[in-house]
Amino acid sequence: MNTSKNKWFEFIYIPDSKLLIFFILLALAGASVLGYYTPIVVSSLYDSFQKDGEFMPIIWAIGALYVGEYFASVVYQLGLSRYIQKLLQQIRSNSYKKWILTYESIGKGKFGSHNYPMGEVIARILNDTEAVIEMVSSGSFKIFIDFAFIVSSLISFIKLNTVSGAALIAAEVLVCVALILASKKMAKIYMAVRKSTGHLNRAVANLSGGLRDTFHTPNNSFASKASEASFEDFLKKQLKANVWDASYFAIAESLFPILLALLVIVFPYSNITEMAIIAAIIDLIQRSITPIKEIASKISGIQRAKTGMDRILEFNSDLATMPKSNMEDEQFVIEDFKALEVEIFSFVYPAINENDPPAFELKDINFRGKAGQLVGIVGMSGSGKSTLLKILSTDILCPDSKIKIERERHPSIEFQGDNLEGIAQYKRQVSIVSQDSHVFSESLKFNITFGEKSEKEFKEFWTKVNVEIPYLKKWGPRPEDVIKAKDLSMGQKQLVSALRSCFLRKPIVLFDEISSGLDSELEEALRKLVLLIQEKSLTIIVAHRVETILKSNLILVMKDGLLANMGTHAELMQIDATYQEFLAQVSS
């Protein structure tokens, strides 16, 4: 309890904002003082009608009270908006940072299967903070300053007339409690509406996504029929919510006559004889109705924001338990890379059901490659070559494996498959070029450099690749141009990713060749890039074409999860049946 409170405080406190907090508190204090004087001044106004000479000063005093209230309110809201602005930036940035630093991968292991789906990440980083924004824009925070004002008015009124003041306080507290209790029911109804909105959104996204595709096939109006069902459900929930909503607010609206009746009921005990007191209390009732009316809706807003914050807190503390990198870390890229030695003893995909036999096993893979070499991996689909590549890129964690990196001037380093920190370090030595490498809707330059290295280095690099690869000129985009993933073909995406790997050089580069659908120039460009990368790195490539591996130093032939054979093209042609079968397949 205590720790969670501490966490909360840490969470919503921003350093360097003492001045802002001071202004917010000052406005609250100001509102309380103004609230305290309001009933007193209002009752003297009604008194002053009979007395000459007192009227104008009272009018000035009332004017001053209203102006003061205006400024207190503006200062409070301004300060709060600014604070929230800063706070949200802090919370979001921290959450994003923590999330981007964690490693996520599939497979067995302590943290192996842990990851947040995309919707969750967006929800946690953005939507949950949205509740707080909503609170500001709907004026939920205003309730605090309004209450500071009303509460001190009520207290001050007790001094004017104890019985009716106390009765009013009791009644208003009762009403607030009743409204808040009723708002629990309302919250449930809103929740159902929200859920139904979620269903509707998902259904629309899902169905409208498929319209283009199912137009040219008999579709029996699948999309509109399915959407009608979700529209109906949404309508039902909404109408139900409207009934509750409308009557709930109507109750608050009917408060005025009820509170007046209360006044009448306590008359025999309150001994009010002056009209000024009656006028002051009616004024007070009128002022307090709006905040009371709003309390339930605002409190539910605050509740929602708190749930949002709780969820972010949970997200943050969850992320804290996952393996992560450190932003301040050195790149730790091995400069004097000499060779890589891989030993995979066994890897089994976790079965979906516990009792099922393991779906597929990768076993006894052992090879070595040196800097500047090209290693090809071939095999039929299902032979395990993609799994092997995923283990090498640490997309899959394989605890039962060992990877050794030999260095020119330093002792070699061994990375055990079950040592997460070691694997994280190894991961830094590897880059992967595949068709699902991501292309950002940012400039081409950013996509290649990721903001790393200097401007000069990039210019040199860009000039060099432009000379070597004529396709780049023909393709079009300049380094500053923003590129959009959806405008690029698979091959072009792979080209961007290969350029990136070539620029941000790693000792080991993994390449997942596209199986089909490249035009010859692009294919040529990619092959050229492989050569450029290979100059300094060990390049491991899953090949779908013979010419890719003809000149490679080593070819690994995979079959049924086993390393069937390895050697050069010439050697394998002589001895290996699987390899010959592969060749026959790709060139048949």
Binding site: L211, P257, R428
Partner: protein, 545 residues
């Protein structure tokens, strides 16, 4: 289904009001009674003051207060409900009509609208419209009826009190102007929010890559700048509200002071000021919504504009002249690479269109599909990357058609032969397997094969597949084609495929070879083209080097 989306904005609002006139009549009556009963309250409060002064407390009619409260409760509730209900129904009808229009329209007509756009329209724009008709109509009615009832009541009492409302009205107008002035920033804030969201989505997709290059800090900085922009707009858009909202209270105060001066000048009773302030608070609520009427109306109008843009786009006539000459598939003349090209497709046979990437294979079959659509032929086309609905495999295959035993049997056979039986222990379970959002729970290749089965069970004469076997290995491809060719239920269908794989071409009967910028270079039977020194032969030889 009644069409509603063809109207312009104002006619639509009018038509809507007539469609639900009985609701609105009831709603206006409720509003009238609500304000009538509310207008009794200030007099009641004044009366209370008078009776205290004259020591006549015994004469107060206590039950009357409760009757009034009850009447306000009832009429307020129903006035709201009767305004909201038609708006909700209308929203549902409009959304459904939009989905139906989208479903009937050729995808080409809305190619400029991304999926995000469609979503925005169907979800958000219709929601704004609902907000407009539900809310703006209510508040307009509210303010008119309130004025109708309150003004005579106040004038009856004291004409001068009416002028004392001036400061309040000035402040409310100022408030409304300020809110409207800052409104564009609300829009900017929303756009900026979408960009932050987009950035998170991209970071998610690219997380592996980012971590691989240890570029977390660049991305962190970029995120901060996106988020800061959004929050800056959030702050600015809030400024208007922060400055202007308390103005209303200030206006109330000024009006109250004015009223007090009148009381003093004309030597009226203090209880008259109670009466006046009662109306001041009553009129506040309808006045406050004045600015929202403007905002909601402009939003509704803009939303209708966007909706109409989409509707207009869907209604374009995209038929091309050459469709009219269509007689049979084996003698087509169509525009391709800027020329008129003759195309021969064999009926009841396996046709394959081959050519390099970018040679226009997808374009060509798209045109054929459009032609078949406008000619009323039965056909089914599956694109390169087909879409799966977030539903079961079975529903994705049958798309709502009743699966008779024969078709069910065909579907199961296909699942088995297409290598999809691995998805679950039994075929029944495969059929009831949920494929997830956009088919995420199955691989791209599996999704494609599910879509291929969709067209096989759909009773069509012509089946068009764009690069159907790209993600299938050669053995499985051979097995699939063998199954399809041997099944009696699929006899007599015309297949049109695109491919650049020799293995696929080898199984087809009729080859159409196309080239970028050139059009159809060669057409002929497989036997002929593969046995002689043809372009096709040369193309595949080059591929094998």
């Amino acid at each position: 289904m009644i069409s509603r989306l063809h109207r312009k904005f104002i006619p639509w609002v009018v038509a809507h009001s007539f469609e639900f006139w009985y609701y609105y009549l009831g709603a206006l009556l409720c509003l009238y009674f609500l304000h009538y009963f509310q207008s009794v309250l200030p007099g009641l409060a004044k009366d209370l003051g008078d009776k205290v002064m004259n020591d006549q407390l015994k004469e107060i009619d206590l039950p009357k207060f409760f009757y009034l409260a009850f009447a306000i409760l009832i009429f307020r509730t129903f006035s709201r409900l009767l305004f909201f209900y038609p708006a909700r129904i209308q929203q549902k009808n409009l959304r459904l009509e939009m989905m139906q229009r989208l479903e009937r329209a050729l995808p080409k007509t809305y190619e400029n609208f991304s999926e995000g756009n469609l979503f925005q329209t169907v979800v958000n724009d219709f929601n704004r419209l609902r907000g407009f008709i539900g809310f703006a109509l209510l508040q307009v009615g509210n303010i008119i009826i309130a004025a109708m009832i309150f003004i005579p009541k106040i004038r009856e009492f004291n004409d001068d009190f009416l002028i004392a409302f001036t400061p309040l009205i000035v402040c409310v107008v100022l408030f409304s102007v300020l809110i409207l002035f800052f409104q564009p920033y609300v829009r900017k804030n929303m756009d900026a929010y979408a960009e932050v969201q987009n950035f998170v989505i991209e970071s998610y997709d690219a997380k592996k890559t980012i971590k691989n290059f240890h570029s977390e800090s660049s991305f962190y900085k970029l995120f901060q700048s996106y988020s800061a922009t959004e929050l800056r707009y959030f702050f600015i858009s809030g400024l208007g509200r922060v400055i202007s909202f308390p103005l209303v209270k200030l206006g109330t105060g000024a009006s109250l002071i004015w009223g007090a001066m009148i009381v003093k000048d004309q030597n009226l009773s203090g209880t008259d000021l109670i009466f006046f302030s009662g109306f001041l608070y009553l009129i506040l609520e309808p006045l406050l919504f004045l600015s929202w009427i403007g905002i909601v109306t402009s939003q509704g109008y803009a939303a209708w504009g966007r909706i109409k843009k989409l509707v207009g786009s869907l209604e374009q006539d995209v038929r091309e002249d050459w469709y009219q000459n269509y007689k049979n598939l084996d003698a087509l003349t169509l525009p391709f690479w800027g020329k008129k090209v003759n195309l021969e497709i064999k009926n009841n046979a396996w046709n394959v269109v081959i050519g390099d990437t970018g040679s226009g294979k997808s374009y060509l079959i798209d045109k054929i599909a459009e032609l078949l659509h406008f000619s009323g032929c039965s056909y089914s086309m599956i694109r390169q990357e087909p879409y799966l609905y977030n539903d079961t495999v079975g529903n994705n295959i049958f798309l709502g058609q009743d699966a008779n035993p024969e078709k069910m049997d065909l579907a199961k056979k296909c699942l088995l032969e297409f290598g999809l039986e691995v998805l679950a222990p039994t075929l029944e379970e495969v059929l009831s397997l949920e494929v997830g959002e956009n088919g995420k729970k199955v691989s791209g290749g599996q999704a494609k094969r599910i879509a291929l089965i969709r067209s096989l069970v759909s009773d069509v004469d012509v089946i068009i597949w764009d690069d159907p076997f790209s993600s299938v290995d050669l053995l499985l491809e051979r097995q699939i084609i063998k199954t399809l060719k041997s099944d009696k239920r699929l006899r007599g269908k015309t297949f049109i495929l695109t491919s650049h794989r020799f293995s696929t071409v080898r199984s087809c009967d009729w080859i159409i070879f196309i080239e970028k910028g050139e059009g159809v270079k060669e057409t002929g039977s497989r036997k002929e083209l593969l046995s002689r020194d043809s372009l096709t032969n040369e193309y595949f030889k080059k591929q094998m080097v």
